[in-house]
């Protein structure tokens, strides 16, 4: 079991805000969407960050590890190549499926929390790990529905996944908040049940409420409640890294810097 580096506080690198990310004070690491990186054409901004010694973590969105189909070897190969090109200490993807029967959902779909589904997920994760040069961390997703006949809570499901595959966890506290709002799940129970010593890093993101539903948009400001969950997590464990994810409707540099500072304040409160 390899040790992961301390990452600090980071932000998701996106091409629209590349210069902003380069200039933001206090960015210790960044994350790139692996599918947006083309080997041989690494964006100049990402190269610059690497030259500065900023760790760049590839984050996959298309492995579909929770799907019934076998893992797409080409997608794993690409993720591995991106990791090597960026000299990344780890890679990540989600506990979800994004395609089935040849159709892509365009969304990170939740996996049924049954023993059978866990077996499939474990097999896929192990297959992917064999072809990855660095450790794999897996992220909890936000869901608008829960499959019926679940046998395990989300925390139990992830704990067993970690135990059987030796993967790391990427905990998205915004997703935890979304599930608590929309599905009535208990974030504290989740944190009680997962092996926090296997935490690779944490995602923090914003969202917005429409009617009765909270939308995990990653395109709005981070809510105080989400920072509250980060606070709860940090009271239990010092996360190796915490990363602000913003995928659209990018605010001013000042607002982004303020959100990063708020995250850092929560993290440092527990040191």
């Amino acid at each position: 079991m390899s040790e992961l580096p301390r990452l600090g506080v980071g932000i998701g690198w996106r091409s629209e805000i590349d210069i902003t990310v380069e200039r933001l004070p206090g960015v210790d690491f960044v994350e790139v969407v692996a599918e947006n990186i083309h080997i041989g054409h690494i964006p100049e901004s990402v190269v610059l960050l690497r030259e500065r010694g900023v760790p760049v973590l590839p984050h996959g969105v298309s492995l579909s590890l929770g799907g019934a189909d076998e893992v797409d070897a080409q997608r794993v190969k690409h993720l591995a190549e991106v990791a090597e090109a960026l000299d990344a200490p780890l890679v990540s993807d989600h506990v979800c499926f994004v395609r089935a029967g040849g159709l892509d959902s365009g969304h990170l779909m939740p996996v049924p929390r049954t023993r059978d589904a866990l077996d499939v997920l474990v097999a896929n994760v192990k297959a992917a790990q064999q072809d990855l040069p660095v450790p794999l961390a897996l992220e909890n997703v936000a869901a608008l529905l829960e499959w019926p006949d679940g046998e395990l809570s989300e925390g139990q499901f992830l704990a067993e996944l970690v135990e059987r595959t030796d993967c790391y966890l990427l905990v998205d506290v915004a997703n935890l908040y979304a599930n608590a709002r929309n599905l009535g799940t208990d974030p504290e129970r989740f944190l009680d049940e997962i092996p926090l010593e296997r935490l690779a890093y944490v995602h923090v993101a914003g969202g917005v409420e429409h009617g009765e539903v909270y939308h995990d948009t990653h395109a709005h400001a981070v809510l105080p409640e989400v920072l509250g969950l980060l606070d709860e997590l940090c009271s239990r464990v010092a996360p190796p890294g915490v990363l602000l994810e913003r995928d659209d409707n990018y605010p001013s540099d000042t607002e982004i810097a303020t959100e990063l500072a708020a995250i850092r304040e929560v993290v440092e409160k527990h040191r």
């Binding site: 590349d18 210069i19 901004s45 607002e255």
Partner: protein, 276 residues
């Protein structure tokens, strides 16, 4: 924000249009939006709207911003589409109404003049006496260049405005020189923290008017440029909207720049230009 001259008072967009046409006016709108922190430009030239209140100060800015709020666009695309937008046409009509530009000539005849000139030349090569053909070809070509090239030529008043124009701040520097231009040997784009590769996306257009750097440009142009060149991002460079004189322009812009934020005065410095 206007630029005052003895002949007339024009906005930076109008000045840009007079100096180099609708594309330059579009560049000015872009520069103003950058100045106001309403847009940002990525290293790869992707222009996107910043999620912040504000709609732009002019119809051109509003048009550009509305378009970018739908989706980010490459620098060359957004400047081109804005240059051919109804807002730019309104700007042109406004300049026409103010008699700063003349009525459009039949620009479509311009390429035909060249074709006729070349055909005449080629036919002349096979003729017994080549000289008359050559003279006709040259005459048609010159005619085309002189009379048929520009769609909207400057009137005498328009020429005076352009002649007296001064780059008082980084926005009017764009109007006068364009983002690809230079002022005091410094690229204008550098004032906005942009890179050469990004502005390289813009179409090349001949700069028709060089403003003398000792008339009206003064310390403001220099200090705005040098101070803002330290900014690594256009979006961090903001400008005050208050008016300033040529002297205060210099001091304010140089003193307000820091490593974290960079300000330049983009306000009108009418006293500077009117002193020409």
């Amino acid at each position: 924000m206007t630029t005052s001259t003895q002949a007339s008072t024009v906005t930076p967009e109008e000045l840009g249009f007079l100096v180099s046409g609708p594309g330059r006016a579009s560049e000015v709108a872009l520069a103003r939006l950058l100045d106001a922190g309403l847009i940002r430009i990525s290293r790869q030239g992707l222009v996107s709207a910043v999620e912040t209140p504000g709609n732009g100060a002019t119809p051109l800015e509003a048009q550009m911003l509305a378009s970018l709020r739908i989706s980010p666009q490459n620098l060359d695309v957004i400047t081109k589409t804005t240059a051919y937008s109804p807002a730019t046409e309104s700007l042109r009509q406004h300049l026409l109404a103010r008699r700063l530009i003349g009525k459009p000539r039949k620009g479509a005849l311009y390429p035909w003049a060249w074709i006729i000139a070349i055909l005449t030349f080629v036919i002349g090569l096979g003729a017994d006496n080549f000289l008359p053909y050559l003279l006709v070809a040259v005459a048609v070509a010159v005619l085309g260049v002189v009379f048929l090239r520009r769609k909207g030529h400057l009137t005498g008043a328009g020429k005076r405005v352009v002649k007296r124009a001064a780059a008082l701040d980084r926005v009017t520097a764009v109007a006068v020189y364009g983002l690809r231009g230079k002022i005091f040997n410094q690229p204008v784009y550098a004032m906005f923290g942009l890179t050469a590769s990004v502005v390289g996306m813009l179409p090349v257009r001949r700069i028709k008017k060089r403003v003398r750097e000792d008339t009206g440009v003064g310390s403001c142009g220099t200090s705005c440029g040098s101070s803002c060149s330290s900014c690594s991002s256009a979006s961090s460079c903001s400008s005050s909207s208050s008016s300033c004189s040529s002297s205060s322009c210099s001091s304010s812009s140089s003193s307000s720049c820091s490593s974290s934020s960079c300000s330049s005065s983009s306000s009108s410095c009418s006293s500077s230009s009117s002193s020409d």
